[in-house]
């Protein structure tokens, strides 16, 4: 089939080429259940979710409000405890980890990006990015060097000494993304990161998240915007706390294949 030959001709970036099945996922959710309340007022936020995200992969989670998207992200990041099931981050089951272990894992392995950026207003961009490293015991000098390198990677080095209120929303969100992935952190959990941004800026944030995943991070993107979800390798659909469907990884070559072959 000529299309199959074409698919090899398409340059794929970063971690896509690694055989996924052979490697350990950065994040694994195993039969994850979260129930709030009990008896008549019991609410089943998540009803047994299985999901793995590997290095180099960006997974989008979509679903109507109340479908469990945010609960999933909160549990994946160890900010809440599941009713049953397991959350395994880089091989460690965080549902059975002690409080200190969990705090250390959150500092070292997991980065968050929120809709409203959540940068600390009294700190500069570089200080915000350096903060997780400093909290983890890295010296201020080394942390700053790592923060500057991280800002440099996303072309924001010139903004290193600006405070959040001196930056645009898009710039703040890109700094938040740098903070989420500074050091050796490989898991980024993004909750509607484009929610407060205009379409073009939102797209630049998504392109950055995509490129960080191509460079080896694993990401979950919760969004209700189909156009942003489309940057992901897989899109998982939640409804009433269950995965009802998911798309396969993109096969750009299967569509408009004549043109794709030329690239």
């Amino acid at each position: 089939m000529p299309d199959q030959h074409r698919s090899h001709a398409i340059p794929r970036t970063g971690g896509h080429s690694a055989p996924r099945s052979a490697s350990q996922p950065v994040l694994r959710l195993d039969r994850l259940v979260r129930t709030h309340g009990s008896g008549a007022t019991e609410v089943h936020a998540l009803r047994g979710i299985d999901l793995s995200v590997h290095a180099g992969e960006l997974v989008a989670v979509m679903g109507p409000s109340g479908s469990g998207k945010s609960t999933l992200l909160t549990l994946a990041g160890g900010l809440d405890t599941p009713t049953s099931g397991h959350v395994i981050v880089e091989g460690m089951d965080i549902t059975t980890a002690g409080r200190r272990q969990l705090a250390a894992l959150r500092r070292r392995s997991i980065g968050y990006v929120f809709q409203d950026y959540n940068l600390i207003p009294a700190l500069t961009a570089a200080e915000n990015v350096a903060l997780p490293l400093e909290l983890d015991g890295t010296s201020a000098r080394k942390a700053r060097a790592a923060a500057l390198a991280s800002l440099d990677e996303i072309n924001l080095r010139p903004l290193a000494d600006r405070f959040p209120d001196e930056m645009s929303g898009g710039q703040q969100q890109r700094v938040a993304l740098a903070r989420a992935l500074v050091g050796n952190r490989r898991l980024v959990l993004a909750d509607e990161p484009t929610g407060a941004l205009d379409s073009e800026t939102g797209e630049s944030v998504l392109a950055l998240l995509r490129s960080r995943c191509d460079a080896g991070a694993a990401g979950i993107l919760v969004t209700h915007e189909p156009r942003f979800a489309a940057w992901a390798d897989r899109v998982v659909f939640l409804r009433d706390g269950s995965v009802v469907d998911e798309t396969l990884r993109s096969r750009a070559d299967s569509l408009l294949s004549g043109r794709a072959a030329g690239l």
Partner: protein, 218 residues
């Protein structure tokens, strides 16, 4: 799709022969709408009949060249200035399918919606990856930047179009869910003598059916 005006637009840049027009049309639009060379020659002969193009000799290799006429140029200008006609929306299979699925016995309309949403988002993923490649090509300053840019615009149109479809599906589903919840919460209306007989399967509790039942009663 206007092949006619597409060809006129290419001929405005200078005389061209048939297969050259075909390949330029496709490189502009990323082969999104492939043309066969027969379509190109059929269109050229109609354009010639209407006085919009004229044969313009041969090139060194003996290809028959076509050139745009002044009438062709003014037709092309008018085409650029004239908005695309929306008075007769093209038949849309998905709209027709959902319209038919409403209250259809044995059809789970939410499953119909999800199956389409899957395909629509998948297509958006594909377009988005191609778009990222086009942007990389443009930023890398490739020689055929103009074609890459034209293709990027076409891809983004496809992305926005599929996005509108995905949003419409989300909206339709949440409307169905809301109506179903309302129908379930409403007390049963007093039995009217003219109440329509239940014709659907007993298990069918879709909101839209109950709404249409209410409409009939009203």
């Amino acid at each position: 799709m206007s092949i006619r005006h597409g060809l006129l637009a290419l001929l405005e840049r200078g005389p061209r022969y048939g297969s050259q027009l075909r390949s330029e049309f496709e490189s502009r639009t990323g082969s999104t709408w492939p043309l066969n060379v027969g379509q190109v020659y059929t269109t050229l002969s109609r354009l010639e009949r209407d006085g919009l193009v004229a044969p313009g000799g041969e090139d060194a290799a003996g290809h028959t060249l076509y050139a745009i006429t002044d009438t062709g140029r003014s037709e092309l200008r008018e085409w650029y200035e004239r908005p695309v006609d929306r008075t007769n929306p093209p038949r849309d299979e998905l709209s027709i399918k959902l319209a038919m699925a409403v209250g259809a016995p044995g059809v789970d309309i939410r499953a119909v919606i999800q199956s389409q949403r899957h395909a629509t988002i998948q297509a958006m993923q594909d377009y988005t990856r191609l778009k990222a490649q086009a942007i990389t090509a443009i930023e890398g300053g490739r020689a055929d930047e103009r074609d890459d840019l034209a293709w990027l615009l076409v891809l983004e149109q496809l992305i926005f179009q599929t996005e509108a479809e995905a949003r419409w599906l989300d909206h339709s589903e949440s409307r169905l869910v809301r109506l179903a919840a309302r129908a379930a919460a409403e007390p049963a209306p007093p039995a009217a003598p003219a109440a329509p007989p239940a014709t659907g399967p007993a298990a069918d509790t879709t909101a839209v059916r109950s709404r249409s039942a209410r409409t009939r009663r009203g």
